[in-house]
Every structure is written in structure tokens, then in C-alpha cells.
């Protein structure tokens, strides 16, 4: 990430706050800190900063940064209260300047395979002597599907479902199973629109196809399976809603294929 952006952050924060840059995401720069922003606690915390983007007009930039930072904070607080749904805990939000403080999640994968987001996890099993279809992968993807099911069932959309925006966490080092957390709600929304949900699923399916091409078919099937399980818990009403969403999902997909593509 560029020095200018980092300098800006260090100038803005309380001097001596030990923040270390760890990632440049799709729109934010992400730091970790050992210190809580305002409590005496220590631990591991995330600072997510959306820097101004020079490339876009200042009025677009200001509107987007504010809207997305507030939006993400608001969604995280609501989602955190939903039983079974796993999202990082919000610690603090400074919407005007584009800062969020969050609980840290995840860990480093073994053998230098990188941070434990779903993308690196799937790549880890897809390379070398890993088995991309092993039961841990299947189970994890179904759990991811369940998380998305819970999100949609409760009337929310993520807006940017990719394997980079799903973090896997283990309760202990010896624990073999992973718990997926949904992160990065900057494009998320509160919505009951079937269209939004259909698009959400379509975006995810395409992200899996492009990023995990060789195994995408099985992966998408497992995701959808987990997703459906949640809806099916709610009996007939759930089945009806599930049908609506999957039907729209297929329509959105078909629209993509039918789109005329004149060079």
C-alpha cells in the first residue's frame, strides 16, 4: 500500500498506538493493533480504514466512504445480535473519517498458505497433496452457505460475497473444524428484495467459478446446500421463500448468459 496513505493514518491516530498494516482489501487498508482503541484491554484488534480515493470525484468519494462506513457499522451491530450468525464484533466507528475498529478473526494457515480466509483455505486444499473434495472442505462450505442463508433469511444482503470476504476461525489450535465468519459489509444492505438476494447468490457463484474454477461445481453445490438448510428449518414458509430466491437466482444467471455481447 502506498506510503502516503500510511502516513495519513499515523498522523491521524493517537501517537504510539501500535497499528501494523496487514492487508489492502478491495477498498480499505486494514491494520492490526494489540491495543484496544479506548479500553485498557490488550488483545488483537482490527482497524479498517477507507482512505479517500483520488481517482473519483470528491463528492462521489465522500458520499461513498461515509455511506459504506456507516452502513457497515450499522449492519454489523444488527447482525451480531442474530443467533447463529457470525460476524466480527464492532468496537468503534468514525464514519466521517472512514475508520472502523473490529474484533480480530482468523489465523495464519499452516505451511505459509496465508491468512485463513476462504480463498486461501480452498487454494490450500486445491494444491500439492491436498484433497479439494475432502470432508473438511465440504463441511466448511456448507457452513458458509448456512451463514449466507441466515443473513438472507433475516432480511439482509452482503453485496460483495467472494471467498476473500469470508474468514475462517477455529476455537483452538487442535480443533479441526472451522467456523466461517462473514466480513466486509460495505456494500451490504437491509433488504427483503428477492432480486438483491438473487444477485447476491449470483455474485458468489461467479466469484467461486473464477477463483476456484476446477472445483467450482461441487463447491457451489455445497454452498447452496447449506443455504437451503437454513430456509428449510422454517417449514412451508421457508420452502416458499427458498423457491422464490433460487428461482430469481437462476433468472439472474440466465440474464447474464443471454446478455448480448457485441464486441
Amino acid at each position: 500500500m502506498s506510503e502516503d496513505v500510511l502516513a495519513k493514518v499515523y498522523e491521524y491516530l493517537t501517537p504510539g498506538l501500535p497499528v501494523v498494516p496487514i492487508a489492502q482489501g478491495a477498498e480499505a487498508v486494514v491494520f492490526t493493533s494489540e491495543k484496544h482503541p479506548y479500553l485498557p484491554n490488550s488483545g488483537k484488534f482490527i482497524l479498517k480504514y477507507r482512505p479517500p480515493k483520488r481517482y473519483r470525484h470528491p463528492s462521489i468519494d465522500k458520499a461513498l466512504t461515509k455511506h459504506r462506513t456507516i452502513g457497515e457499522a450499522r449492519l454489523l451491530t444488527k447482525l451480531f445480535l442474530i443467533e447463529g450468525l457470525k460476524v466480527p464484533k464492532l468496537i468503534a466507528c468514525d464514519a466521517y473519517n472512514g475508520y472502523l475498529w473490529l474484533e480480530f478473526l482468523g489465523e495464519e494457515l499452516p505451511h505459509g498458505k496465508g491468512f485463513s480466509n476462504l480463498k486461501n483455505f480452498l487454494w490450500m486444499y486445491a494444491t500439492d497433496d491436498g484433497d479439494p473434495y475432502c470432508s473438511i472442505v465440504e463441511e466448511t462450505l456448507k457452513k458458509v452457505g448456512q451463514q449466507i442463508g441466515l443473513l438472507h433469511w433475516n432480511g439482509y444482503c452482503h453485496g460483495d460475497l467472494t471467498s476473500s470476504n469470508i474468514v475462517l476461525s477455529r476455537s483452538g489450535k487442535n480443533e479441526t473444524s472451522w467456523q466461517p465468519y462473514l466480513i466486509d459489509f460495505g456494500l451490504g444492505s437491509t433488504t427483503d428484495s428477492v432480486e438483491d438476494k438473487g444477485v447476491d447468490l449470483y455474485v458468489l457463484e461467479r466469484a467461486i467459478i473464477s477463483t476456484h474454477s476446477a472445483h467450482a461445481e461441487a463447491y457451489n453445490e455445497w454452498l447452496l446446500k447449506g443455504f437451503s438448510e437454513i430456509y428449510k428449518r422454517y417449514g412451508d414458509a421457508g420452502e416458499v421463500k427458498l423457491k422464490e430466491v433460487t428461482k430469481r437466482f437462476q433468472e439472474v444467471r440466465l440474464r447474464g448468459r443471454k446478455r448480448s455481447m457485441i464486441g
Partner: protein, 386 residues
């Protein structure tokens, strides 16, 4: 391992020569490209560096009057009228005297594109092939853009933003295919610009997009930007909302509809928003969305190189915005080309087709030369990359 020298050039030559024919939309392009035989191409992925020489690159665009788009039938007629003349001109400029002997392959656009124009060009390609006894290669138009862009800019493995009249895609290579990471959920960027231009009767010469770019430069109120429904969904985007919104304003402005108080001042009746302001706002919003989805894809695949291809890619404002994004992002680089290569042309078809040919992939039977309106970028098996 990729071996680009698997098929030897004809006539004992030390180089390959390809003729490329493109006519998937309103441009008819013919080009001749030459690849020298280079030792390093035998073992490794050097497809971005073929040391290619462009021997000729000629084009004729079917321009319709302001306010009108190009229809398939008329465009096909234009291509039929000009095809022979352009092929002759391209061969002459390239110094090809005996096409039967001097050409290794004839490359044509297989799709995607408009059916009738594609068809009129493939007929010419087949005829030349039979006449001269030179094999054919069918090329995916998008892959043509990508490979030409890589060759010109020497971008090894970039995230590609492909922006043209009918396409808007964010692409990256992985496992033998150009994978689509993001794309439009409805209309293409060029389509959006063209339709807006039509409403305002902006000239189609040299292209509506170019004229919008020039008008936007003359916007006097760059500080106060008209707000448009900016819509990004993950790595995808939607432009129909913006078009519907701005097109309504454009219609009222064109018809001088004073009742529209967003455009005309309540007291003085004077226009508050000019054509230039609309062009500026449209570009700023659409391009910000394009740059944003490109950045999202870069983050997702851990890349810091971008290549912009396709007709809208010659827009300097878009290139500038992309540059700024990349600089702020781990000192990334932007690669773009000028109108000779951005705008549809025959050279890109010749170049990509030649890569395909050098991997031993060419038409064995004329039944394989059927053109297709829909042909997704990720359907092509990219044999020439590692």
C-alpha cells in the same frame, strides 16, 4: 510446457505472417502481423512478448448520422462493400505480393458480435482461404483485445478491464482460461454512452464516446457533480439505472422542456445544467464504478497490474483514473493502448489467431468456421499460456 514454435512457418521462412479480419460491430478492420521465430518461445510463457511487427493495420468505420445507431443489416452491407478493398490495401501496405506463399494463416473473428456483420466477414475469410490455400483460425474477439494489449504493453499477467460497445468485463488469467471476475449485470458501458449520445444527437464521428469525452472536458461546473445512482455489486456493476436517470434529463434538455426544474431555473427559466455537465457527470460516475470493480478484482487475485482494452479504453479520463487508483495501490501499473489497438482492428485478430495457430490449433474443416453472436471470454482454451 508451452511451445509456441511447434508449427514451423511456411516456405522455409524464419517468421510467421498472419492476416486478420475483424468486423463484429461497426468497424471493419484488416491487419497483417509478423512474428519472428524466437528461441525462447520454445520453452516458457512468453506469449506477451512475440516481438511482433505490425505490417499493416487498416480500418473503415460505418458511421451513422447523429441520433441513429448502427443496424446489423446496414453494417453487414458496409462490411461487404469494403472488405475486398481493405484486404487488398492491407496486403499491399504489408508488402505481401503472393498471399498464397507469404501468409501462414488467415484469422477471422468468430464472435461475440452482431450476427450479420460477423457473417459477412467470415465469408471473405473463407474465400481467401480457399483461393490461396491458407488455413483459417477463428478468434474470440475479447481474447484478441487482451492478447494485443499484452503484446503492445508487455504486461505479463494483468487484471484486464475490457470496456467496449457491447462488453464490460474484469478479467484475469488462471488455469488456461481468461476468467471473468466481474461484469455488467445489464448493459455495456459503450452501449450506455452511445444511447445517451443518441438522445442528445451527439455526433457518431469518430465515435460517440470520444465526443462525450471532449464535451466533458468543457464542463464549467466540475465542482458540483450531478448525483447519479452509482451501483456496484461486488465485482459486478449495473449501469441501466444511471442511463435511465440521465437519459430522462438529456431528453428534457434536448426538447427544452422548461417544466423540468432540475434542469431549468424556476425564476429565470435558464438552463442550470448543460450538455457538458451531463457528459461530465456520466463519465465521472461510470468510470469510478469501472475503476472500483477493477480494484476489487485486483485485491481478490493479489495483482497490481491493470491492462485496459476495448474501444472505451482509449478514453484518457478513464486511463487517468485507473492510473491514480494503481499508484495508491502498492505502486501498481496501468497499461493501455491508443486508438490503433483499443478500437476494434484486424491486427489484434491476426496476432491472437497467430498465437493459436502456433500452438497447432487451426480450422480443419469449414464447418468449424461458423460465427457466433455469443461467445464468452472464458470459453476459450488458452493453450499459449502457462
Amino acid at each position: 510446457m508451452v511451445n509456441l514454435n511447434a508449427v514451423a512457418p511456411g516456405g522455409g521462412r524464419e517468421y510467421y505472417v498472419a492476416l486478420g479480419l475483424e468486423g463484429s460491430a461497426n468497424k471493419l478492420g484488416v491487419g497483417v502481423v509478423k512474428h519472428p521465430v524466437v528461441g525462447k518461445h520454445e520453452g516458457g510463457d512468453f506469449s506477451y512478448d512475440c516481438e511482433s511487427q505490425i505490417l499493416s493495420n487498416v480500418r473503415d468505420t460505418y458511421i451513422t448520422p447523429a441520433g441513429e445507431g448502427f443496424l446489423p443489416r446496414d453494417t453487414a452491407r458496409h462490411h461487404k462493400n469494403w472488405c475486398v478493398r481493405l484486404i487488398k490495401q492491407a496486403l499491399e501496405e504489408a508488402g505481401i505480393q503472393n498471399a498464397a506463399k507469404d501468409l501462414d494463416v488467415i484469422c477471422f473473428t468468430k464472435g461475440p458480435g452482431m450476427g450479420a456483420p460477423l457473417h459477412s466477414v467470415v465469408v471473405a475469410a473463407r474465400t481467401c482461404s480457399l483461393l490461396w490455400g491458407v488455413p483459417l483460425v477463428g478468434v474470440n474477439h475479447c481474447v484478441g483485445h487482451i492478447e494485443m494489449g499484452r503484446e503492445i504493453t508487455k504486461a505479463v499477467d494483468p487484471v484486464v478491464l475490457y470496456v467496449s460497445g457491447g462488453n464490460t468485463q474484469v478479467i484475469a488469467y488462471s488455469e488456461k482460461r481468461y476468467r471473468i471476475f466481474g461484469e455488467t449485470l445489464d448493459i455495456a458501458i459503450g452501449n450506455c454512452l452511445d444511447r445517451f449520445a443518441r438522445t442528445l444527437r451527439i455526433s457518431n464521428y469518430p465515435s460517440p464516446g470520444y465526443n462525450i469525452e471532449q464535451l466533458a472536458l468543457n464542463c464549467k461546473k466540475k465542482d458540483t457533480l450531478l448525483e447519479l445512482p452509482y451501483t456496484v455489486k461486488g465485482m459486478d456493476l449495473s449501469m441501466s439505472g444511471i442511463l435511465a436517470y440521465i437519459d430522462n434529463l438529456a431528453k428534457d434538455l434536448f426538447r427544452d422542456n422548461r417544466k423540468n426544474r432540475q434542469l431549468f431555473d424556476r425564476d429565470s427559466d435558464e438552463a442550470k445544467i448543460s450538455v457538458e455537465d451531463l457528459c461530465f457527470a456520466l463519465q465521472e460516475n461510470l468510470f469510478a464504478m469501472l475503476v472500483e470493480i477493477t480494484e476489487r478484482a485486483m485485491a481478490h487475485v493479489n495483482s497490481n497490474q491493470v491492462l485496459i482494452v476495448g474501444g472505451v479504453g482509449c478514453n484518457l479520463r478513464l486511463q487517468e483514473m485507473m492510473q491514480q487508483m494503481c499508484q495508491d495501490r502498492a505502486n501498481g501499473q496501468v497499461h493501455a493502448t491508443d486508438e490503433r489497438f483499443c478500437i476494434d482492428n484486424g491486427v489484434m485478430i491476426a496476432h491472437a489467431g497467430l498465437l493459436q495457430y502456433r500452438m497447432g490449433d487451426f480450422v480443419k474443416d469449414l464447418s468449424e468456421t461458423v460465427v457466433t453472436q455469443k461467445f464468452r471470454t472464458d470459453e476459450v482454451y488458452v493453450a499459449w499460456r502457462e
